[in-house]
């Protein structure tokens, strides 16, 4: 067995391995979605900065932040509609549906009471990671190709 037969067998093994992976077709990069996601990320960051005020202070409740929840719902709804209209975009659509669910969870949590600083920190880490992952996929459509 010489070097080339090893190379050939190795190559065959690699191709079979790669072929075994599921190849999901992905849509092209969407600059409008990129900008809208970045804008929503900024709005959410501002919300969490504002929400770090002490829980016993007035204006920490859900009703005070109603415009944020309404704006977020509208923004995510527009993003989802755009993402669904693009072919081969199922992964981004699933990501946005989960993000939409996270905003609903955030609203439910806020309705139960004001956030403590520890809660805000945990929540922000979770949302920041979600936004990073969504942007990572969107930017990979542009730069990884």
């Amino acid at each position: 067995m010489n070097f080339f037969s090893i190379t050939k067998n190795g190559l065959l093994a690699i191709i079979l391995t790669v072929g075994g992976c599921s190849l999901v077709a992905t849509s092209p990069y969407d600059s409008s979605a990129d900008k809208a996601i970045t804008k929503l990320h900024k709005q959410t960051a501002e919300f969490f900065v504002e929400a770090t005020k002490p829980a016993d202070k007035p204006g920490c409740g859900y009703s005070h932040y109603l415009p944020f929840y309404q704006n977020s719902k509208v923004a995510i709804s527009s993003l989802l509609m755009r993402a669904r209209s693009m072919a081969d975009n199922s992964l981004t659509v699933s990501q946005l549906e989960l993000l939409s669910s996270s905003y609903e969870n955030l609203a439910q949590l806020h309705q139960l009471g004001c956030f403590t600083p520890a809660q805000v920190e945990e929540l922000w880490v979770s949302f920041d990671a979600s936004f990073s992952a969504i942007l990572k996929l969107e930017l990979a459509k542009k730069y990884a190709r």
Binding site: F4, L11, C21, T26, L98, N105, L112, E122, A133, I134
Partner: protein, 102 residues
């Protein structure tokens, strides 16, 4: 003919290695790291419940948020892997086309 096949095999292998070195083709280690992180976060939520900082109802919502976040990360890994694989297969296709002068 046999020499040509060997040359093509070597070219394809070098293209595959070039693609693999330019980006991570396989990301299983990242999935493991994210899963480990989720376990730590769920543990932190349980600690907050034990300390009386969170009610069970609040904790359930916090857990759901962490799970959503992990699912979003896993979808990103799947998508990026697909794009990298697509690029790798494109690169190998170009090598074959160049080799046969198509």
């Amino acid at each position: 003919m046999s020499k040509r096949k060997k040359d093509l095999g070597s070219l394809l292998l070098s293209e595959l290695l070039r693609q693999a070195s330019s980006g991570s083709v396989f990301n299983h280690h990242r999935v493991a790291a994210d899963t480990q992180y989720l376990a730590e976060e769920l543990d932190a939520i349980n600690t907050m419940v034990s300390a009386g900082e969170l009610s069970e109802e609040q904790a359930a919502i916090h857990r759901q948020l962490r799970l959503n976040s992990l699912k979003i990360k896993l979808l990103a890994i799947e998508g990026v892997d697909s794009i990298v694989l697509e690029r790798t297969l494109d690169g190998m296709g170009k090598v074959i086309r160049r080799f046969y002068g198509v």
